[in-house]
Symmetry: C2
Subunit: 485 residues, 2 copies
């Protein structure tokens, strides 16, 4: 493809993108295709000879697009968001054009130094302790893996790195990780990868708000120490995935400090809220953390993937991940940051650029405005649920996530063998699953579910960049109308 | 930013990109900025209020661009390439616009199914065994980590996952990984993360061509077994980073089979060459592999990051990485591939799209043409070195990488205390370092170095999408003229 052809198609695609966003609300939020439907429309081998870009783009429209679940649809309320924005998208275009692989300073000094700068901007913006140093990762899964490996190494005097987890474990005792019963699955996955083992991820009971109970944590730590285990790490969920529960960082952090454990805070979604002075209290106690992660790609208008990982002492990261083959040595290694040693991957995209575009283009005030609007929308949605009277709110609405379920005949007594009344838990699950499928089936909204205390729970997470009150109202009206119909 | 503003800036950026590629040869390949130069030009905190996109783009031009090392410059001969292309770039624009997070089938069925399809296309294109199944990873580092963790689990009956590496190791013995002395640093890094420990990565001696010696491998395995170690994994380098040495997959694979070990093949760079019938012999023996990785983002014109990982039995991957929290369960989980369970990260970009654009837009024949051109250019460059007579070729030129050094007064006898002659090794290092710095300092080319047999070695890797013979000739002329001047 020549430069002129690129220009032609590049302009076409910009127009396509503009029209895509203009008409996105006409598309179903959740793809309505059936398993296998996309696959059967694609040939079984690559073409031998070139195909025209016109044909590829036509196939993109007719085959791929119907199979896309629209995360950028303002009525996307599922999971946690991955909210992009136009400034971020423009930066992604430039990143792709430069095509730089930013593994070390020399392979693009501006990428390394811009990363350092925007991480400082984020640190100040969120009010994180000065002592923290930031680095971009792809996802919170990877960041949490970094934290777990760092914890393993701290607990074994870096013996795991050198001698392997088996030998280190023999010397130190079986290493364990402690985390809230509501923490993200990435903690368990990371613990498997890093060799802790699933059995050694100890889930600490949570209180009525689904937050970790510090007293239980302490009790279990003492029990484990007495039994000869070697506690290594505590992972707090600052905004659990199911309900955005906020573990109390201060009390948990003080326990980590007292027991000499690595303290990692997973604030993947909720971290952005610390930009708001009125919400910054969620970070109380973060000064005890050894590492902290939040995802600008979730709730800070920066395209996936972009995860901000902060550590108190980068030496732990570097000692854990550093490799220095001859072919990567440069004459400035003593003066610069080579981020290849700050994470799992050697190769790194130029992710700082989109963050820079977003932070400058919105400005901190612009970002705060968006976050406040989402929080207000979540409060409004909760008010509608309450006013209706047929819905149960299943967790505190701490920020922008509402957990609820529909209870037919609510207000009546629980059913007994002899009298009708509130449906059983199993019936409620069926009823709410059906409600979820029906509202999602309209294509007008997309919500997902979880379980809280064993209860099938609908989750309404409000964080897409372009979500307005009218989108939230539509979701509410669909739920209201389908419930009981 | 409104849709209209996006359109305006999107078009501006497309024009910018076109001009960037039109004029890229006027820019220095390797950024010429000094450490700290970019950082000092950036403010220390994010702006409170929005800044205009015009201003951001102006700063991008004046502050960021000079700090970029141009991986897409046709005279980029450093490291291994990360060769993008216009079709790939167009796809990246669409991927960023969709902003889909493709962790499971439901979160974008088309992304999951297109990934399945293009991985089949690649498998057929390269002539990999039918039994392989593919999945996209970000980098070969991550893919190799997946292989190592899978190997650990296979060797311990999945006890590591469950009970932790320490307990599993106690039962099974100290786990070890065997790899060529020339293999990539990601093997050591992955072994550290997965808990094998650096000491348990055993480097197998290489032959005169820097390829693993199967007899040595067998000898060491027997020695380790006798000493009570538990061999778990063999990693072959199919195209080592220093010299593109090709480990003999057949003999090594048969040893892996005989000893019951996981066999991983790291073909990050060289794998693409298997698209050429005349080079496919490099894959002889790949049928013994349990896992195989190569990077379309290196030498297949697909933007970084995009790494193709193939496994013989996906159950190993899934058993190792699977997590099934309630909030990720869907009604179709039994019928579809949920790639979140096929790797380290939960979140996943829609990487298959760019690969689809590239494979269709080039066609397999178009890709082969490019690869053949690069290989021919490497042969031409080698011929020039040889004809000149002052350069030593330090490794076989297997594909598109030439390893060499300049030897002043070559042809003369080695220097003795009494007579001048060929410089000492230390002098040669200084001389070649200086030569490298001088040619890179012109900004007209970018080469990097390695060490082979302790010898300071210049590496000329030819793989950028737009490299033509004239660029290779210019590199040669610079080296020729600066050598000895």
């Amino acid at each position: 493809m020549t430069i002129d052809e690129f220009k032609t198609y590049g302009h076409k695609i910009v127009d396509w993108i503009a029209e895509f966003y203009e008409t996105i609300e006409e598309r179903p939020v959740m793809s309505q295709v059936m398993p296998g439907e996309v696959k059967t429309r694609l040939p079984s081998a690559a073409p031998e000879t070139p195909e025209s870009m016109d044909r590829i783009l036509a196939d993109f429209d007719s085959i791929i697009l119907p199979g896309i679940t629209h995360w950028q649809h303002p009525s996307f309320f599922a999971y946690f968001p991955a909210n992009g924005s136009f400034p971020s998208l423009l930066a992604e275009m430039l990143t792709a054009a430069l095509g730089a692989q930013c593994m070390i300073w020399q392979t693009s000094p501006a990428a390394a130094e811009l990363e350092e700068v925007v991480m400082e901007w984020l640190k100040k913006g969120l009010g994180l302790p000065d002592a923290f140093t930031g680095v971009l990762q792809d996802t919170a899964s990877t960041a949490t893996l970094c934290a777990l490996v760092s914890a393993r190494e701290k607990a074994t005097g870096f013996a795991g790195n050198e001698k392997g987890a088996a030998a280190a474990g023999k010397a130190a005792g079986t290493l364990r990780v402690y985390t809230s019963a509501e923490s993200h699955s990435s903690v368990e996955k990371g613990a498997k990868i890093a060799g802790f083992g699933r059995e050694n991820v100890i889930k600490i009971p949570v209180d009525g708000n689904f937050a970790m109970i510090p007293d239980k944590l302490e009790e279990i730590l003492k029990r484990d120490l007495a039994a000869g285990y070697k506690p290594a790490c505590i992972v707090a969920a600052l905004g659990s995935t199911s309900s955005l529960a906020l573990d109390p960082l201060g009390p948990v952090g003080r326990i980590a400090e007292r027991f000499g454990l690595w303290f990692h805070v997973d604030a993947a979604m909720a971290g952005s809220a610390a930009l708001l002075p009125e919400k910054r209290r969620i970070l109380e106690g973060v000064e005890y953390a050894d590492s902290f992660v939040f995802n600008p790609h979730k709730w800070l208008f920066t395209n996936f993937d972009c995860s901000a990982y902060f550590v108190k002492d980068p030496a732990h990261l570097i000692n854990t991940f550093s490799i220095t083959p001859e072919y990567l040595k440069t004459s400035v290694d003593g003066e610069v940051k080579n981020y290849r040693d700050w994470g799992v991957q050697l190769g790194r995209r130029f992710r700082a650029l989109k963050l820079w575009f977003v932070l400058r283009s919105f400005g901190l005030e612009g970002l705060r405005e968006k976050l406040r609007a989402h929080i207000a929308q979540a409060e409004q949605f909760t008010a509608w649920l309450r006013e209706d009277g047929r819905f149960e709110i299943l967790a505190p609405v701490n920020l922008n996530l509402v957990c609820f379920r529909y209870i037919p005949r609510s207000g009546q007594s629980p059913r007994t063998p002899d009298s009708p009344g509130v449906p059983s838990e199993a019936e409620l699950e069926t009823i709410n699953k059906k409600l979820l499928d029906r509202v999602n089936g309209t294509g007008k909204v997309f919500l997902t579910h979880t379980k809280l205390n064993g209860k099938f729970t609908l989750r309404m997470c409000i964080g897409q960049t372009n979500t307005e009150e009218r989108h939230v109202r539509q979701a509410w009206e669909l739920l209201r109308d389908y419930a009981g119909s």
